[in-house]
Symmetry: C2
């Protein structure tokens, strides 16, 4: 376009009648707002601040050479399929490979009709909201729970009930009391959502006993369990625990898996493993949402699982993250003042820190950033936003020395706050 014409167009644009855009938004769109914390943290990402806030895997863990080999092979041999539209349910060879892998890895006999691929497990959360939640339906979540699960479900207007956590995960005994109480009121829980292993944000893992009890309760009180398992392969110490899905003989568990932490997030490929009846409904719902998950990413994931690269690569990721987890726990021990508690995760990506009551970590964030460290204030991980004195720290993205320095700066910030109490 010529300069003059372009200028005229831009001028016309600027002088145009301002439109009342607000009048076009749906009521729900008016409700959703950008989070201030997210906006603040966005700024941090580009500065010198040590950010323990993110939830990103370290790019050093991406198996780039393997991906390159696979990508070239796919394009040479399977381009017609890998570059074409796929079925909504997902690329069949990948679904088959995932079924085999879950069976081998988790002891879950499963077939491909029980598997659908999705654009990352985040899409599965939205789909679950769409397929299962009517306004007012009771959904149980952990307190705290995965932030973006709250956002995804919230759109569908459920009534949230949150169950406290301890070092063994969700307090299933408290859940049971709650279920009994609701039953007396003639109410029913539809879904219990749990990040069962190395939870986001706490890093803790639900014990085997609680897993077994939870599945019994699901049967007794007739609810479904959504088990979100993004971190379950990232174990740095302790004994593996089978997924809740392993104990599920009725088809009550909807298991969500993802390649984001065991291959790379950039492909946006995850999967849902559930009873075929539930998969079918989610499949139909997905049709109008995006037709299908990106096929190219699915074919990469297929070869990655099928040819054994996944099993080979997991130990390398673990080897890479373990020192970072250790560095964070050691630094917390070394620098944090008395009266501060934190979880000791055996895996995953996060440590959860609890400060004395009276300290508001959201208010404290600005000061921490000015001291050169960032974290995620815990408030947003609680559906009722009623806990102010917690924070989530990530240990996968930043190298050990920075983790130590970041925790040191954080400890200083906390100490200053403590003095004010």
């Amino acid at each position: 376009m010529e300069m003059k014409e372009k200028l005229q167009k831009l001028e016309k644009k600027l002088s145009a009648q301002p439109i009342n855009f607000e009048s076009f938004f749906s009521k729900k769109a008016m409700e959703i707002k950008a989070s201030e914390v997210r906006e603040l943290l966005k700024l941090v990402e580009t500065s010198d601040v040590i950010s323990l806030a993110g939830g990103l895997p370290a790019p050093e863990t991406f198996p780039v050479e393997t991906i390159k080999k696979i990508a070239v092979e796919i394009l040479e041999k399977h381009a017609d399929k890998a570059l074409q539209y796929g079925t909504t349910k997902g690329f069949t060879p990948l679904r088959l490979a995932l079924a085999r892998w879950m069976e081998k890895r988790y002891g879950i006999p499963i077939s491909k009709v029980e598997i659908m691929t999705v654009a990352g497990s985040q899409q599965a959360l939205d789909l679950i909201g769409r397929v299962f939640i009517d306004p007012g339906d009771i959904i149980v979540v952990e307190a705290p729970t995965y932030l973006a699960a709250i956002q995804a479900f919230k759109y569908y207007d459920p009534q949230f009930i949150s169950i406290p956590m301890d070092d063994d995960g969700m307090r299933v005994d408290i859940l049971e009391e709650k279920l009994e109480e609701l039953r007396r009121q003639g109410k029913r829980v539809k879904i219990v959502y749990t990040v069962s292993t190395f939870q986001n944000p706490m890093g803790v893992t639900m014990s085997v006993e609680r897993r077994k009890r939870l599945i019994e309760l699901a049967s007794e009180y007739d609810f479904l369990i959504v088990e979100d398992g993004p971190y379950s392969e990232l174990r740095y110490s302790g004994k593996p625990v089978p997924p809740i899905k392993h104990f599920d003989h009725e088809g009550r568990v909807i298991y969500l898996g993802t390649f984001s932490k065991i291959l790379a997030p950039g492909f946006r490929v995850g999967w849902v493993a559930a009873h075929p009846h539930l998969i079918r409904k989610m499949e139909i719902a997905k049709q109008s949402i995006d037709l299908c998950t990106n096929t190219f990413g699915q074919t990469i994931a297929w070869k990655y699982v099928e040819e054994g690269h996944l099993d080979e690569h997991i130990p390398k990721i673990i080897e890479f993250y373990k020192p970072r987890r250790d560095a964070m726990l050691e630094a917390l021990e070394e620098y944090m003042p008395d009266g501060i508690r934190w979880t000791k995760p055996e895996g995953g990506m996060f440590v959860w820190v609890t400060l004395p009551e009276g300290i508001d970590t959201k208010l404290m964030l600005e000061k921490a950033v000015s001291k050169g460290v960032a974290y995620v204030p815990g408030e947003a991980f609680f559906v009722h936003r009623d806990v102010k004195n917690t924070m989530r720290l990530n240990f996968t993205y930043v190298p050990e020395d920075k983790i130590r320095e970041g925790v040191k700066r954080l400890a200083e910030t906390v100490e200053e706050e403590l003095k004010k109490l």
Copy 2:
């Protein structure tokens, strides 16, 4: 897992109490059903039937060598970004490249803040529903219109008004009458949705005069236009027409673009070009839906546009499809009995056939399949499903000789139906 253990588990699964899955589905999930036609056509895809039903690009048009070159380069130089989570708004270099490309190609001065990438333009349709449609809002669509746009919007419970089409696209004069009538009733149209160029399913293009009038009406009656442009680059004859967005000086047009027909559908990368205020809201809505569009596909698309491959490749796609379009129009001329009408598209992927009233193409489909040809019955492209005697034929996927043979078989089927009238 050992055979015995596996058998036990499977037995346990089979003997489990059957769950009343229906009791878990949301009301909306109960409403959405798989389409019978889709199911029938699924079967056809694997048989010897010549399918003119699909909407797939020909895999021969995928620039596989270029993609391979780009993929290797990306993995060697940009793996840390290409394999990582990205921002919800999209990969910035791609957004910038698209802004430049739209400016050059369509004469639209545009900046990257007006562009968001999406998981194919289908996701944009769902997002538009989420961000703009409250139950009962009036949405204008063409009659017929893109099937999956109906599905995407329908979830949000709008009131659809459909405006007839002719060879110059939407009858904007009839739209105007309708707008006036609604205004008298104190009602307002929120969105007019149009596939403006080489429409799906009709193949026709909205004339320049109508485009200009439509944008005037948008300003006069205060509505937004969603312009869906997936086929606009595929012109085999006639003179190019600028997008409606070209005439938009107020920010009323939300333009949807996609790489599915000019690169490959398998990446699921599309984009939205709209006023920053609208983009911002769609961005926030997308956060809980899938966090971000697959980054790897976005980086491929970026290099594809940025390095000029796109502009170089479009003429090759056109050269490949033109003979197929010609073969279909010639075969229709040669074989179809009198009284049958069809569109003469200057581009795109589809021809629209209208049979005499009294023939129901949905009922006729089984016979056609038994004669070895398939098509999509037109009914589902009308929001009110009130037109029974039309069908959509695709000419991009099947080679010329098969197109001719397919049309011949279809003509025979039609002739038999005509005799029954």
